[in-house]
């Protein structure tokens, strides 16, 4: 088990692919913000890629192990130490009862790290998933962020505990402050909602990630209403009759504010959605540093997205581990 000493900025239990099948009840998918780091982390400790770990956002998390365990830290370098000794990322290692794990703060690149434990985190599954949905206050540990004195149990390991497993150099995700996310048209990219100039701008502009960038929405500055929207006979040209949102990865334009929808993005609403980040690259949303990073959307096709998706499936397999 793990005794939480400090919850840090925001630490939650998440798995992948999150809580599917309940969008029609208005229940967000949730799931790891960076599913690549979460899934590779599960592989390192011998778990299935659908297991859950602890998502540490920004840093500040501290905890004490109440038993020996095999763990791996993946994702961003948040200055993780065990008993004040720096530990390698993307590599499985054993910890002993009484060891204290601490995270400092995020550095130049990357914003979320994952603590992955052999056997997974033993919280009850709610509607098929261990993922925390903060807005709904369900899933994970009591539907909330981890805090001082919480205790998390571990599940039974899935196999032998193998130390020293690493992610191959060729399989390491690359973090940056300038992210290019491949995206595909739709559902409201046609000229009856957005002008061609507006769409061209979406695929050429470099967006600043806003200070408000959390599990439910990543704010990306503003659009110029003078020329972005096609003229329509409605109260505001960003408004449509309530329709399904293309979560995860949809870019919503709420009045003049573009908002990218990650894990806890809403299932439905009344603003247009102008493009969709391809599923193979939605993981990048989890590593965006609020108020610092920049992103650009690169237009792609269904065919290319399929190729990228097949690569992603292969990436999330033993092929990436040595």
């Amino acid at each position: 088990m793990l005794k939480i000493l400090k919850g840090g900025i925001q630490s939650v239990v998440e798995d992948w692919p999150g809580r599917t099948g309940r969008l029609r009840d208005g229940m967000a998918l949730s799931g790891a913000m960076d599913n690549v780091a979460c899934q590779l982390g599960q592989l390192l400790v011998g778990n299935p890629i659908t297991e859950g770990g602890i998502e540490v956002t920004a840093g500040g998390f501290q905890a004490e192990f109440g038993e020996d365990a095999l763990i791996a830290i993946t994702g961003a370098d948040l200055g993780c130490t065990i008993n004040k000794q720096e530990v390698p990322l993307w590599k499985s290692f054993k910890v002993k009862k009484g060891d204290v794990i601490k995270f400092k703060m995020y550095k130049d690149v990357g914003f979320r790290a994952y603590i992955n434990v052999a056997g997974g985190i033993d919280v009850p599954k709610y509607l098929g998933s261990k993922s925390t949905c903060l807005f709904g206050a369900y899933g994970g540990l009591e539907g909330r962020v981890l805090k001082t004195d919480d205790v998390l149990k571990f599940g039974k390991p899935y196999g032998a505990l193998e130390e020293g497993k690493t992610v191959k150099q060729s399989a390491m995700p690359k973090y940056t402050n300038y992210w290019e996310l491949k995206a595909i048209n739709g559902p409201n990219s046609s000229p009856n909602y957005v002008t061609p100039e507006g769409m061209e701008w979406l695929f050429t502009n470099v967006f600043d990630v806003g200070d408000q960038a959390n599990r439910a929405g990543i704010y990306l500055g503003g659009v110029d209403e003078e020329w972005f929207f096609a003229a329509r006979d409605v109260g505001h040209p960003s408004n449509v009759i309530e329709h399904p949102y293309n979560v995860r990865g949809g870019l919503n334009v709420a009045a003049s504010t573009p908002i990218l929808f990650p894990s806890d993005g809403p299932s439905l609403g009344g603003y247009i959605c102008v493009l969709s980040v391809i599923q193979a690259e939605i993981w990048m949303m989890g590593q965006l540093i609020p108020g610092r990073d920049k992103i650009k959307f690169i237009q792609t096709t269904q065919e290319e997205a399929n190729e990228e998706r097949l690569k992603y499936y292969k990436w999330m397999s033993e092929d990436s581990i040595e």
């Binding site: 029609r24 061609p196 399904p244 009344g270 969709s276 097949l310």
Partner: protein, 346 residues
């Protein structure tokens, strides 16, 4: 906001094609409007009903009927769907299921669907209390004024949105809005946005209010807030962001813990079901607060739900299209349009 330079030299014709995401269109029939299949992501297909946006409840009944048949087909690669008033969206794995194959499957269902008018829908009647412009609602609107946008046409000096809704619809004042809300029956097309939230549509076209949403949307809304965006009424199920113009507050409609028998007995954190009908009665603020205490804590609150009701769709369609109703609806729309022209936009 800084000025954003407009991209120059965009060839409208080329870019129209470049950003065209219509995959297929089924022509309109006697039974329905045209159906547009839209790319909505690399594993998302959106099925939209009608090129023109309309608020017509039988569209939703049709979409839910098609959705049910689609679920029954258990097509390999389909993950889940989100049916709404005039669109459905299918989330699928395009490496397992080709998008054109999926379109064909849905087309087949559409082509063989019996008339919606033949449906008789089981429809519960839910009655909820509402406190208009209560203090909690005002506090949240004040928070928006203090932190997000100080001056806006949709918030009055008393931190209320109802005056704006009245103005936008060509009505005299908030009493008119209250009267409409208290005398209307709303239809649930399905759930979404946040957990358990239902999308409610006024069944009477003669009092079909419309109002644009906040600009920018609120970062905070309280549980139980009742609001309107476009032609839709919504009750916020949990604390969340949101852009709807707020009327007031009702009691909880979502309970994850399943403590209260209304949730426990049905093993569902959602109060509402698709095709439910909803109406409101006015209470003072204390009664709403009583509801929170006695639903979430003491669990002895009794919801007012009639389980036995049904909607005979044929009767509804006939009534809806009858000359008198249509005439009165057109008159309401005309007055509304005149008001929209002189009302400031968000």
């Amino acid at each position: 906001m800084t000025t954003i330079p407009k991209p120059q030299g965009v060839n409208a014709y080329l870019t129209n094609k470049k950003y065209d995401n219509i995959l297929k269109v089924l022509p309109a029939t006697m039974e329905r409007v045209e159906i547009i299949f839209l790319q909505a992501g690399d594993g998302m297909l959106k099925i939209e009903y009608g090129f023109n946006e309309r608020m017509y409840i039988p569209d939703s009944m049709r979409i839910n009927a098609v959705d049910e048949l689609l679920q029954k087909k258990k097509i390999k690669g389909v993950i889940e769907t989100v049916p709404t008033l005039r669109a459905n969206q299918v989330w699928f794995d395009p490496t397992v299921l080709n998008i054109n194959k999926l379109i064909d499957e849905i087309t087949e269902i559409e082509d063989n669907l019996p008339p919606v008018a033949d449906l008789v829908l089981h429809s519960r009647q839910v009655r909820l209390p509402i406190a208009f412009e209560d203090n909690v609602t005002k506090d949240f609107i004040k928070y928006y004024v203090d932190h997000q946008r100080a001056e806006s046409p949709y918030i009055n000096e008393d931190y209320g949105n109802m005056d704006y809704v009245a103005q936008y619809n060509g009505l005299n004042g908030k009493q008119d809005i209250k009267d409409i809300v208290l005398n209307s029956t709303y239809y649930n097309s399905g759930h979404g946005f946040w957990p358990g939230g239902a999308f409610w549509w006024n069944m009477d076209p003669r009092v079909q209010l419309y109002v644009p949403k906040y600009n920018p949307p609120r970062m905070r809304t309280h549980e139980g807030a009742v609001g309107m965006g476009g032609p839709c009424l919504y009750i916020y199920s949990t604390p969340s962001g949101g852009g709807y113009q707020l009327f007031g507050r009702t009691i909880p409609i979502f309970q994850f813990s399943l403590k209260h028998p209304q949730y426990k007995d049905y093993d569902s954190p959602l109060l509402f079901r698709v095709a439910d009908r909803l109406s409101f009665y006015e209470v003072d603020e204390e009664e709403i607060l009583y509801g929170y205490e006695h639903i979430h804590n003491q669990t002895d609150y009794k919801y007012d739900i009639d389980y036995e009701g049904e909607i005979v769709v044929k009767d509804f369609i006939e009534w809806y299209h009858s000359p008198q109703i249509q005439e009165e609806a057109a008159a309401f729309k005309k007055k509304q349009a005149e008001a929209v022209a002189v009302t400031p936009k968000p």
